[in-house]
Structures are given as structure tokens and as C-alpha cells.
């Protein structure tokens, strides 16, 4: 299939990329674990404290809240976001009138920066002049006009809700993949008398395995990276309620300057991310085998 070449020839072509990727993805991995066993504030000396940082995290209610919130978010990403995006993609596949326009609208939030969307929604949720309360007041449902970002009951949902904006990305990945499924399969199924729903279930779904994996992985890494929403909207929430793992990381590093803990938290985040990616890969691989 491919022409064989010696390593010497490709060396120079590969070197820059490998250099960057190693510096930024491989190298840091070897950093995180060792330093997480020390206590350091960046200015003074490091002091070895063994698993001290991990114990601290275990006992810190702030970390526990962050962990749980992030877990909620990941779960909703995998079990709500991805299926929903899939659903919309399936519907869009039938190309109803104006589908190009719809596609464009759905994808718009993905190109705007997270920061601008976060601050936009911060304004929307504002109790005195925000659009949301304004809407409720307008239609007479005064009782629903909360102080969204300050009320402990509504704060968490309010910071996680905007995530739904990003469904465009999920949907488009599915959509692009669906369009590559040869039409013959559908034709054959139709002849066999399958309804459109059944067609989707038995043809489209299994063939979309790869796309499902990709979407899950991308969404989860996105969630694990997203610091902007809680940071800009609530700063961690009334009394730490809306804290998430990435925000906790950022806080530990920039505010508390507890570098050892930052590394420890980073390590945990990394494990979660890689773990879920790996799990997704493997499980859908085996499921796929079964399906075929």
C-alpha cells in the first residue's frame, strides 16, 4: 500500500511535530505525579509530604463538591448531550426544508468563545435586569424569577445549562458521518418494509459507533477543560456550590498557589479523562463486535 522509506528521510519531517507534542503532552505527564507528592507555593522551596496532598483532597469538602459536580456534568454529557445530538442529526438527515440554515444556527455557539458565551449567560441570569427573569415576569410567572446564580438550589443547574449550546458540535460530527452511509442500505431496508425509525436503529446506529466514541471523548475532554462557565458566572458559586474540577485546579494554582495540590488534582483529572476515553473505546469496540 505504501512506499517504504528509511527512517532517516522522514526524521526531519517528523521532528518538529514530535518535539511539540512531546513537550506539551508527554513531558507534563512525568511532571505531575512527582510534584504532587510535594508541597510547594512556587516561591519557596518544595517540601516532601508524600500522599499528603491526596489526603488533603480527600478531606476537602470543596474538592468533593467539585468532583461530584464534574461527575454530574460528565454524565449529562455522555447520556444526555450525545444522544440528543444524535437524535437531531438523525432528524436533520432526512433533510427537511431549510436544513442548511438549521445546521448553521446549531453550530454558531461553537465558534463563539466560551468566555463571551459565559458572560452573556451571566447577564441573562442576572436577577434584576436579566432576560430570563424578564421573560418570566412578562408572562406572569413571577414566582419563577429567582436569583439564579445566587440561590443555592438553582446555581448549579444555571452554570451547567449553557452546555447545551454546544450540541451543534456533537450533532455535526454525527451528521457528517451519517451522510457517508451508502444509500443502498436504506433502500434495501425500505424494500424489506422497515419504517424510518427502524432504519435508523438498525443501520445508522451501529455504523455510527466511531462517531459516538469520538463525540463522547470530545465532550468529556471539553467538560474537564471548561473553567469559564463557573468562573465567570459564579466564581465557584454561592459557598462553593458550583465548583468544578477544572475551576478547582485553576483556583489552587492561581489563587491559593498550592502547586503540589494543583499537580495532584491535575493528575486526578488526567486519570478521569484518559479513563473515560479508554473505557469508551473499549466498550464500544466490543459492542460493535456484538452488533455485527
Amino acid at each position: 500500500m505504501f512506499i517504504r522509506v528509511s527512517f532517516k528521510k522522514v526524521f526531519l519531517y517528523l521532528l518538529p511535530v514530535v518535539l511539540f507534542v512531546t513537550t506539551f503532552f508527554i513531558f507534563p505527564m512525568f511532571f505531575i505525579v512527582p510534584i504532587s507528592f510535594f508541597s510547594w507555593d512556587g516561591i519557596s522551596r518544595m517540601s516532601f509530604i508524600g500522599f499528603g496532598n491526596y489526603f488533603h483532597l480527600w478531606n476537602d469538602p470543596g474538592f468533593r463538591t467539585a468532583f461530584v459536580n464534574t461527575l454530574y456534568w460528565i454524565i449529562s454529557a455522555i447520556f444526555l448531550h450525545v444522544p440528543f445530538g444524535l437524535f437531531i442529526a438523525l432528524v436533520l438527515n432526512r433533510q427537511p426544508w431549510g436544513w442548511r440554515f438549521l445546521r448553521a444556527i446549531f453550530f454558531l455557539p461553537n465558534i463563539l468563545s466560551v468566555a463571551s458565551l459565559a458572560i452573556l449567560w451571566y447577564f441573562l441570569f442576572n436577577p434584576s435586569f436579566g432576560l430570563i427573569n424578564g421573560f418570566f415576569n412578562f408572562i406572569g410567572l413571577d414566582s419563577l424569577s429567582f436569583s439564579w446564580l445566587a440561590n443555592p438550589k438553582t446555581a448549579l443547574i444555571s452554570t451547567q445549562l449553557p452546555f447545551i449550546l454546544y450540541i451543534g458540535f456533537t450533532m455535526l460530527i454525527f451528521y457528517a458521518n451519517i451522510t457517508t452511509i451508502p444509500l443502498e442500505y436504506y433502500e434495501a431496508a425500505k424494500i424489506d418494509g422497515a419504517s424510518s425509525w427502524q432504519q435508523d436503529l438498525y443501520i445508522t446506529l451501529p455504523l455510527l459507533r466511531k462517531a459516538i466514541v469520538i463525540n463522547i471523548i470530545f465532550n468529556v475532554t471539553f467538560v474537564l477543560r471548561m473553567v469559564e462557565y463557573p468562573l465567570i458566572m459564579t466564581g465557584g458559586g454561592p459557598s462553593g456550590i458550583t465548583m468544578t474540577l477544572p475551576l478547582y485546579l485553576y483556583r489552587q494554582m492561581a489563587v491559593a498557589r498550592a502547586y503540589g495540590i494543583t499537580m495532584a488534582t491535575g493528575f486526578i483529572t488526567f486519570i478521569i479523562g484518559m479513563g473515560i476515553s479508554g473505557l469508551t473505546f473499549v466498550s464500544l469496540h466490543y459492542l460493535g463486535r456484538r452488533w455485527e
Partner: protein, 269 residues
């Protein structure tokens, strides 16, 4: 039938959720602060451009915008420069090919927030803290896996073996094939990768916060982050600044929509 109804329901909802807030902010950015507080939802009585002028004079928004542009452009350029050659060599077979592939792609699966401290340390050690170059190299590194994937997939599809064989028979060397044949052919993939890389660099906030501090190296996203404090709670001016900051991306999106969709298709493979 139900399907159609459903899709329209979703669209309307989405439309409201995406478009209406933007429209509201846009309209409100033409009001004065006092007018905004008294009637937040109405059309301005007196449309004023003062907020836009103010946001430029009170804050060096132009500087921030240009910083963002520079960082996005240079990191994208570097990105393409390092991933295009690498994509080329994957057309051939060479020792440890699979290993390298996984190595480069690996970065896509990593949750970036885990590495903020290491990146900070690396950049400080290189002496690039609080400078645009620090941001540039970090963004280059971050976008590299994605750009590589896009270009690689594109090249795999477009360039087939016969072309390369023919060229080799004609006596072209390894390098010549790259420069003369493969590189020009990969324009489409490069275009898509460029857009994604630009988007990532422009929209990035977390690393911009960690790696820069002074005014001269601030990007536009940092300005947005601190909008309320910066403008002393003068909301309409903050709104004007937001509109200014999202305008470039919206413009790019409306013109280059196609490529973005194509790119997403490529990630699948």
C-alpha cells in the same frame, strides 16, 4: 410528520436560546447605563454610539484584539508548518509509523486543564512568561494533534499512490514530491485545519489567564473575563465590548462555513 414538527420545535427553541440573547445584548449596547437599568428590555430611546467609543478609549481594546490576532495567526502558521510535513510522511511506510501516529494523536484525548501548572512552569523556564510568544507556542502545541488529524485524513483521501509512483519514476526525490505535488494538493485540508486552529487560539481563555499578566500581552478573551470590573459595572459598555469581540469570529463563520463542516467530517476517520 411528527419528525417535522419536532425539528421545528427544537429549532425555535435553539433559536431563542442562541439568537435572542445576542440580539438583546446588541440592542442594549446602544443604551446608556441609566436607561438600561430603568428599562432593560425595550428599544433604546436614543441610540448612542458612546459605549462603543468608550470601550475603545477606556480600555486598549484595539491592543487586545491585535494581540489575539497575532497569537492566533502565528500559532496557526506554526501549526501548519509542523503538521503538514508530518502528514506527508504518513503516506509512506517507515519504522515505528504506528507509534508515531499514536504519539501525535494522543494529545486529542488529554483534558487540557490537568496540565496548567506544567505549562506554566515550562513557559517560565523558557523565559517566555507574560509574553505573546509563550502563548503562541502553547497554542501551537495544543492545536497540533487536531490539525495533524485533519490534514492527514485529507491527504490520505486526495493523494493516491499512483501519483507518487509516477513522480518517483520521473526521478523526483522524496522532498521534491512533497513540495511540488503533495503540498499543493493538500490545500483543502490545510484550510480546514487553519480555521480550527484559529478558532481554538482566538477563543482560548484558561491559558491566556495563566500565562500572561500585563496589559501589553493581554488577549481579548481576558478582557471579556474581567469585563464587569473593568467597566465599573457600566453594563452597556461591557455589552459593546462583547459584540466587538465576537464579531470577527461571526464574520469568519459566515464566510467559511463550508470548511468547518468538512473538517468535522474528517475527524471521523
Amino acid at each position: 410528520m411528527i419528525r417535522k414538527l419536532f425539528i421545528w420545535l427544537i429549532t425555535v427553541l435553539f433559536f431563542c436560546v442562541v439568537i435572542i440573547p445576542l440580539v438583546w445584548i446588541f440592542i442594549s449596547s446602544f443604551k446608556t447605563n441609566i436607561e438600561f437599568f430603568s428599562s432593560p428590555y425595550s428599544l433604546p430611546n436614543y441610540w448612542t454610539l458612546k459605549n462603543y467609543i468608550n470601550s475603545f478609549s477606556r480600555e486598549p481594546l484595539l491592543l487586545y484584539l491585535s494581540n489575539s490576532v497575532v497569537v492566533a495567526a502565528v500559532s496557526t502558521l506554526l501549526n501548519i508548518l509542523i503538521t503538514l510535513p508530518a502528514s506527508y510522511v504518513f503516506l509512506h511506510e517507515f519504522p515505528f509509523k504506528k507509534v508515531f501516529f499514536v504519539l501525535i494523536i494522543f494529545g486529542l484525548f488529554v483534558p487540557l486543564s490537568a496540565f496548567i501548572l506544567p505549562y506554566f512552569l515550562i513557559v517560565s523556564w523558557l523565559g517566555l512568561y507574560d509574553s505573546l510568544w509563550g502563548l503562541i507556542i502553547v497554542y501551537t502545541g495544543i492545536s497540533a494533534p487536531l490539525s495533524f488529524l485533519i490534514i492527514h485524513t485529507y491527504i490520505q483521501e486526495i493523494v493516491n499512490r499512483e501519483i507518487i509512483e509516477a513522480a518517483t519514476l520521473d526521478g523526483a526525490s522524496f522532498h521534491q514530491i512533497f513540495i511540488r505535488i503533495v503540498a499543493p494538493l493538500s490545500k483543502g485540508g490545510v484550510a480546514t485545519a487553519t480555521i480550527f486552529s484559529l478558532m481554538i487560539a482566538w477563543n482560548e481563555l484558561l491559558y491566556a489567564m495563566i500565562l500572561t499578566q500585563s496589559e501589553s500581552s493581554r488577549t481579548i478573551q481576558m478582557a471579556i473575563r474581567f469585563l464587569v470590573a473593568t467597566f465599573y459595572a457600566d453594563y452597556p459598555t461591557a455589552f459593546a465590548a462583547i459584540i466587538i469581540s465576537i464579531l470577527p469570529m461571526v464574520l469568519i463563520y459566515s464566510f467559511l462555513n463550508r470548511y468547518i463542516v468538512k473538517g468535522l467530517a474528517m475527524i471521523n476517520k
